[in-house]
């Protein structure tokens, strides 16, 4: 590399950037939220009362210092803002009109009905008040108990400021990049103890996986993942191009908080150690509802996605997306059919039968092939038989930290589990 002429270096750099950019596409960028402005600004707000139609609750969170909320002339009064999801904040800024409150509380709530007081004042003097108050919740409320004047209480602005550093991307995500390790006709989940009893699998992450793998054997073996602390095993049916095995060169395993309501994301539990999950349908006989893997082209979005192989333009890569079920029954690490202990969300919530929300594993594989898909076959058959197996061996503390710091607060983290 040190002797490479500048043009080559630029090309290499460009390739690296393209690769990195490609790997950030797990989540639709339009759903990402900025952390630069008050997290209360423009959010839905409610108040105990208004003085008149010109002083609505929303005027206190509109970012406009010339409009205000004003209450009726009675005690107590409150103004609450819905932040959309559970958020950590460390500052509340109150810009009072002349009609301020001398006694009030700042409160938080997860549901808008039961409140926790995080700050109390009984001798406030109005004006601009910056309160260094820390809390976490979807709802933040000013609860005023004593007025300074004969009028109600009135705020030009009510601002809640995020505890997050600026430029944090509001996407609940962490990831592991786990390259291809080896191929074997083995499956320690479906055919435990029976080497050779499966179609050919391509393995990623833990370097030891075979038909006899157990949680203990995985925990005692190395991984090629970034981070190396993830000794989990991931595997898929091998892809063949004209009968020759092709291994993916992009191998990212995202862990996401999505597919359920934001307030439920805040309740995400760590994936339990030893959990086994199978996604997709190795026995699918058609690209129908029984199959949920998707094929598309990296850098050729116009091709669209399909349950079967797609024809990618020369110079692009065939890519496979597969979302694993994220609702756990809270009891079993596996089940007889290897599926029924897990479920997909229904109506943006985990069903009562599988009440425990865990991070959603999204497997994104990029294969260095393009062109006529009639040359492609999986060891399990056509493209719609794509499936994935996951055997969780993340160290408990590492998994817990990432769920706490990335998933629940909705923060995009990297392989190290930090923003």
């Amino acid at each position: 590399m040190s002797h490479a002429p500048p043009v080559s270096r630029l090309l290499v750099l460009a390739a690296v950037l393209i690769t990195l950019f490609g790997l950030t596409e797990a989540v639709d960028p339009s759903t990402a939220r900025s952390a630069d402005t008050p997290i209360s600004q423009g959010r839905p707000a409610l108040a105990s009362s208004v003085e008149n139609g010109g002083t609505p609750a929303l005027a206190a969170v509109d970012g406009n210092p010339g409009t205000r909320w004003s209450s009726a002339a009675a005690d107590p009064q409150w103004l609450q803002v819905d932040l959309g999801s559970s958020v950590s904040f460390n500052q509340v800024v109150l810009t009072w009109e002349a009609a301020y409150a001398t006694a009030f509380q700042i409160q938080t709530s997860a549901n808008g009905t039961s409140w926790t007081t995080v700050h109390t004042t009984t001798n406030a003097t109005g004006g601009n008040q910056t309160l260094n108050v820390s809390g976490t919740g979807q709802y933040v409320r000013l609860y005023a108990t004593a007025r300074a004047t004969q009028w109600g209480v009135s705020l030009w602005e009510f601002q809640v400021l995020s505890a997050l550093p600026p430029n944090v991307v509001r996407v609940a995500e962490f990831l592991a990049d786990c390259p291809f390790t080896h191929r074997l006709p083995d499956d320690p989940i479906i055919f435990p103890g029976l080497p050779g009893a499966s179609h050919m699998h391509s393995f990623f992450g833990n370097t030891s996986t075979n038909a006899s793998s157990t949680l203990q054997s995985l925990q005692n073996a190395p991984s090629n993942c970034n981070p190396t602390t993830d000794v989990s095993s991931y595997w898929v049916p091998t892809l063949y191009n004209n009968g020759v095995a092709v291994e993916p060169t992009g191998t990212t395993f995202y862990y996401l908080g999505e597919g359920v309501r934001d307030d439920l994301i805040a309740q995400t539990q760590p994936l339990p150690l030893g959990l086994r999950i199978v996604a997709g349908n190795a026995k699918a006989t058609a690209p129908d509802a029984t199959s949920n893997a998707r094929w598309s082209c990296l850098h050729a979005g116009e091709v669209g996605s399909s349950k079967n192989f797609v024809n990618c333009p020369a110079g692009t890569m065939l890519e496979s997306y597969l979302d694993f079920p994220q609702c756990w029954n809270g009891v079993d690490l596996d089940s007889a059919d290897h599926k029924s202990h897990m479920a997909y969300p229904v109506a943006a919530a985990c069903p009562a039968s599988h009440p425990v929300m865990v991070p959603k594993l999204r497997q994104v594989l990029r294969y260095p092939v393009s062109g006529d898909p009639s040359h492609f076959a999986l060891a399990s058959g056509p493209g719609y038989t794509m499936h994935g197996d996951f055997f969780n061996a993340w160290p408990v503390a590492e998994m817990e930290r990432r769920v706490r710091d990335c998933i629940r607060p909705i923060i995009k983290c990297g392989a190290d589990g930090h923003p």
């Binding site: 055919f191 029976l194 050779g196 038909a211 399990s380």
Partner: protein, 181 residues
């Protein structure tokens, strides 16, 4: 020991043996409630389609091979495989497993798919013999390997015993195949 050997010899060439009653008695003596495991199910649900495919391969021999020794061996193997398949299916019924092939449409080691079978069927004479012997050996090797694993990793004694019988049959069958060289 002699009885078992005789029985296994019969498995190779005839309709085979009933499951030894001593197995059930042994379980009672040890007071262990034997249950079928995922490994038992995986082994059984692979052996059945493997034998079914092998029978289709064996059925090609009489009309395509001109080697009397090979035709005779294929006939004996077909008889043995049909008997074996009967015992495997009986066990599947006992295990309450459905008549499903979890490997349908998959490319499996040692098992010819429909396309591969057609390719073999398009040949005859020595060319057919060579292809047939390659695929037959792959089938015998692979089913022996997986059955050896079932012997050690399996759960229920009935399944492990049947796996042991199958492993022994395969050794004899591979020997018989080798004698054609």
């Amino acid at each position: 020991m002699r009885a078992a050997t005789l029985c296994l010899a019969l498995i190779l060439l005839t309709a085979g043996c009933a499951e030894p009653a001593t197995q059930v008695a042994a379980q009672h003596h040890h007071g262990v409630a034997a249950t079928f495991s995922a490994t038992d199910a995986g082994w059984l649900q692979l052996m059945i389609p493997m034998d079914e495919q092998a029978l289709k391969l064996l059925a090609l021999v009489p009309s395509r091979s001109k080697n009397p020794a090979l035709v005779a061996l294929a006939a004996a193997l077909a008889t043995a495989h049909r008997a074996e398949l009967g015992r495997l299916r009986d066990l599947r019924t006992r295990m309450a497993l459905g008549d499903t092939n979890p490997h349908e449409g998959h490319t499996m080691p040692g098992m010819l798919n429909a396309d591969g079978l057609q390719t073999v069927a398009r040949n005859s004479g020595p060319a057919f013999d060579a292809l047939f012997r390659t695929h037959l050996k792959a089938h015998l090797d692979q089913s022996a390997q997986v059955s050896r694993s079932e012997e050690t990793a399996g759960g229920h004694p009935s399944a492990r015993t049947l796996a042991a019988a199958l492993t022994k049959s395969r050794a004899d069958q591979l020997t018989a195949l080798g004698r054609l060289d």
